[in-house]
Each structure stands twice: as C-alpha cells, then as structure tokens.
C-alpha cells in the first residue's frame, strides 16, 4: 500500500463499454496491483455489472443509480417527497455543462448536483476526471484539498466551440492535464500557458496475444456503428476490391445506431457475401487473431486503442490519417499504411496493396507488434504512478512549507 494517496477515477458510466471506460479500468488494475488504493466512481449506473475485467481490489461506487428497480416508487412520506424532488431535478437541464459536450444528454440538475456534492467532499488523495463535463465540475467544485488531474480522451479539435472555450477557462485549475497524443500535448500547452500538460498514451490490456496469420484472407475493423468510425466510407472502398479479391472477407465488429444504414449500404454495393456486420463480441482478441490486417476508417479519434490492440496481434494497419492517433502510432510503410483522411479511393488502394502481398503483411505485422510494445501496461502505467507520486510530493512539500511559516 502507498499510504495517504488514494486514487479516485470519476467516470460518467463505469458500467458501459466505451474505450475510455476500458482504458481507465486497465489503469486501475495496474495501479491496484502495484499497491495503490484505487476507487472508480461512476456518475451513472444503468447496468448491474461492469463490462471489462476489473481487479476485485478496485472498489466501484455510484452517484446516481438509474437501474429500473432503483427507480421504483419509495415507501413513506419523506422518501416519496425525496423521490418527487429527484424526479423533478432529473428533468431540469444542467447549469454548468456546455451543450456541445457530447455527453450533455446524460446530465441534468440532479446528476450535476450529485457530482458537485461528491467532488466538493474530497479532502485528500487524487481525483482523476475523465471527460470534459466532469473536468469542468471538478475544476470549479473539487476545491477541498484533493489533487486534481484532468484526462482528455478525445483530441482537442473534436470538441465544439463552447467546450473549447470552457477548457481554456477551467483547465488551469488542474494540477495536471493528461492527453493521449503528441499533437494534442502541443495544442493544449499553447491553450493553457502555465498549466502542466502531460502526454501519457492509453495502454492495451496486455501484450501477451495470439499472433495473427498473414495467410488469412480476413480484414477486420471494430468500433461503434456510428458516423465517427467511418464504416460508411470503408464499405464503398471494399466494393472497389471485391472483384479482384473475391475470396477476402471484411468483418466489422461492434454494435450501434447506424446498423440499418450500414446494412443498406452493403446491399446497395452487393457486398452481402463479403462484408459482415459481426455485432458486439466479448472475445475481440480471438477475432483479431483470425485476420491478417486491421482497417481504421475513422473520421476522428483520440488514440484508437483497438487499432493498437490489433497491432499487438502482429496485424498491420491501413488507416486514415485522421486527427488524432493514427499518425502518432503508425510509421507509414513500416507497420501500416496511412492514407489521407476520408479518401476512400486511397483507402481501397492501400488495402489492395496488403491483400496482394502476403509477405508484406507478414513483415509489417512484425513491425506492428514491435510498435505496440510501447503501449503495453508495463511501459505506460509506471508513468501514471510517477505522476501521482510527484504531484503528491509537491503538494506535501508546499503544505509543509506553509506550516513552517505559520
């Protein structure tokens, strides 16, 4: 145990399946294994179970439980009055969250008040907030002595103008702002002069993976079926290759609200024998190992972790050079092929180049595996430990110094 430093991660929904949640759980697992005291605090709770592997020593708590049985009518007058107030507050819009925050719809006055009350109660240890809305609330209200670290999981250019403005106002309050890519570190440093901005990439959950087979004729993509992931660009790109490579399959893993549109696109291009919407899988590792390259067709990213996971299976990557991530990770022509963002012809050409050349896939796959090593938990998580230790010592020293002057 490292006495005196409790690390609390504040997540919007620790019970969800998103990349931020997965990454934070990886961090928490590594820290708790290294002897830290770690708690995950979920603002909302919509499910019974967390969706990713989590060390049982990491405690999880919830601020607002939205599961159905938690919303059953209460017995007794006082409880009913409290319920009525809660129901009212659930419909009042949040005060402090800009509308452009992509998570805006999950916030309301009740949720906002719960977060404010929680962060304001903290007196010691470290609070790590994991998205702009939570960062804004922590900047203003977590003023009771806790060390504050803001995480940014999306690149700065992705945020709407109102969110960008609030970032400039709020983030100087933090002891450190952690971003994922070099490009983002430079952007934030310029926006926040005097604020400590540190780049720590996310880590994959393990580097101990089954290598893929370069002779396989399966390409794989993964992500929520949502415009950000650009599967609507990938499907027409595949249509250009299907005649020349009729024995290849493209498998797209993930679920989401655009499934029907993507299915229609597959039918329009007569790709129903070649492109498959695989749905969500709990065993993505096994599925990645069956492929011989990975495709990233996103319009934007923070740091695409599934891509790096694919690389840890020795899969080469074909990726749009979108902001941000692919260019941070990949070296064009070495461990993958980078093509201009949203250029479907260039994407098709690059995929065709890999499909035509098994040896190239094998070579680039080995290079990809080597690249992925710097994103292993063993390389990344000590950087968090170092940051927390240093922030704690700095605070402790300045606190002691103050004490001497009294």
């Amino acid at each position: 145990m490292r006495p005196g430093i409790k690390i609390r991660y504040l997540l919007l929904h620790a019970y969800g399946r998103g990349g931020t949640i997965r990454t934070v759980m990886n961090q928490a697992n590594s820290l708790v294994a290294a002897g830290w005291d770690v708690e995950l605090v979920s603002v909302l709770r919509r499910r019974d179970e967390v969706q990713f592997p989590l060390d049982c020593r990491v405690t999880v708590s919830t601020l607002v439980d939205l599961r159905e049985r938690a919303l059953e009518p209460a017995r007794g007058l006082v409880a009913r009055l409290r319920d009525r107030r809660r129901t009212r507050q659930l419909e009042v819009p949040a005060r402090e969250i800009p509308r452009g925050e992509f998570g805006y719809r999950y916030f309301n006055r009740h949720v906002e008040d719960a977060v404010i009350a929680y962060v304001a109660s903290l007196r010691d240890g470290v609070l790590v907030t994991t998205r702009p809305a939570l960062n804004f609330l922590a900047a203003r209200h977590a003023t009771g002595g806790v060390i504050r670290v803001a995480q940014e999981h999306m690149n700065h250019g992705t945020h709407r103008v109102d969110v960008q403005r609030r970032i400039v106002e709020c983030y100087p309050e933090f002891d450190a702002v952690a971003v994922l890519t070099e490009r983002d570190r430079q952007d934030y440093e310029q926006l926040l002069p005097g604020t400590r901005v540190i780049r720590i990439p996310n880590a994959v959950h393990t580097l101990d993976q089954i290598p893929s087979r370069p002779e396989s004729k399966i390409a794989v993509a993964a992500g929520r079926l949502f415009p950000q992931k650009g599967f609507d660009l990938l499907i027409p790109a595949w249509a250009r290759l299907v005649e020349k490579y009729p024995d290849w399959q493209l498998r797209i893993y993930g679920s989401g609200e655009k499934k029907a549109e993507l299915r229609a696109l597959i039918e329009e291009h007569h790709l129903y024998n070649h492109v498959f919407l695989m749905g969500h899988t709990d065993r993505l590792d096994d599925e990645l190992a069956k492929a011989s390259f990975y495709v990233l067709s996103s319009r934007f990213e923070g740091l695409p972790m599934v891509m790096i996971e694919a690389m840890s299976h020795a899969l080469p990557v074909v990726a749009f050079d979108c902001p941000t991530g692919p260019a941070d990770v990949l070296t064009h022509g070495v461990d993958g092929l980078l093509v201009p963002a949203q250029d479907t012809d260039a994407l098709a050409d690059a995929m065709g180049r890999l499909m035509a050349d098994q040896e190239l896939r094998a070579e680039m796959g080995v290079a990809a595996l080597m690249t992925s090593a710097s994103y292993g938990p063993g390389s990344v998580h000590p950087r968090w430990e170092a940051l927390f230790t240093e922030l704690h010592e700095t605070r402790h020293r300045s606190g002691a110094a103050k004490g001497l002057h009294v």
Binding site: R263, E267, H270, Y272, N273, F276, L277, M278, G279, K290
Partner: protein, 137 residues
C-alpha cells in the same frame, strides 16, 4: 460433420436467388442429374431446379416469382437441398468459424407480385446454420 451442401455465396438480385458452393462429404458425379430442391416446411410441396455440378462445386438458381404461385399465409419457409435423386444434401454454411450466422450473414429481400399482395422473399440462415428462404405477404 455430416455430408451437406456447403454454401459459399448467395446472390439475391435481379429477381433470382443464385447459390454457389461445394458438396461436402460426397463427390459430385457430373454424369448424374443434380437438382436444387426446395421443400416447403408447412406442406409436402417441392420445387426442383437444374444444378450445375463439377467435381465438388455446385451452382444453381431460383426465380423468385416461382414462389408467388404458392398460397402464402403469413410467413412460410422453404428449406434448400441439393439432390441427385439418390442422396439429399441439406444446404448450409457449416465449415466457417462464424457462429450465429442468422444475425451476421444477412441477405437482401426481393419483392414479387402475388395473389394476395406483394410477396417478400429473403434467404436466411437457420439457427443450425442451414439455408432457407422466408416468404411473407
């Protein structure tokens, strides 16, 4: 694995459903008269179409309009087989790694005029990964 007709491609377009695949567990004697056999699940009705078989490869097609001649009440299924008159091989996709094909390998529906309105015909994989056609008015 039992002998069966392993489906590789299904092409529902231009008023036809073309299927392509390989005979598994039985060699296709091209001297024999192979047929694609459709068996209606709710009755004993059957439809037969010529199938081209060479070594283990087969190919055949069904004009969707043929199914409109049968009175469909709600939803009907037709199960697909390959037969040379002696053996009857169920058509399906058993040899790949994909489970739950019913949801993953989804084919387009085609529409044809029928006595009671428009008939929608769609190939699909059953929960046992066999290939059948679903018809609905």
């Amino acid at each position: 694995m039992k002998p069966h007709a392993e489906i590789e491609q299904v092409w529902p377009r231009d008023g036809r459903i073309r299927i392509v695949g390989r005979l598994y567990g039985r060699r296709g004697d091209s001297g024999r008269d192979w047929r694609l056999l459709l068996v209606r699940r709710s009755s004993t009705q059957q439809l037969r179409y010529r199938a081209r078989v060479e070594d283990d490869r087969f190919e055949s097609e069904v004009p969707v309009a043929d199914l409109a001649a049968y009175d469909t009440d709600g939803i009907e299924q037709w199960d697909l087989h390959l037969t040379d008159g002696e053996v009857k091989l169920r058509a399906g996709r058993q040899l790949d790694d994909n489970r739950d094909k019913k949801k993953i390998m989804v084919y387009p529906a085609q529409r044809v005029p029928a006595a009671r309105g428009t008939l929608t015909v769609q190939p699909y994989y059953t929960v046992q990964d066999n290939l059948s056609l679903e018809c609905r008015v």
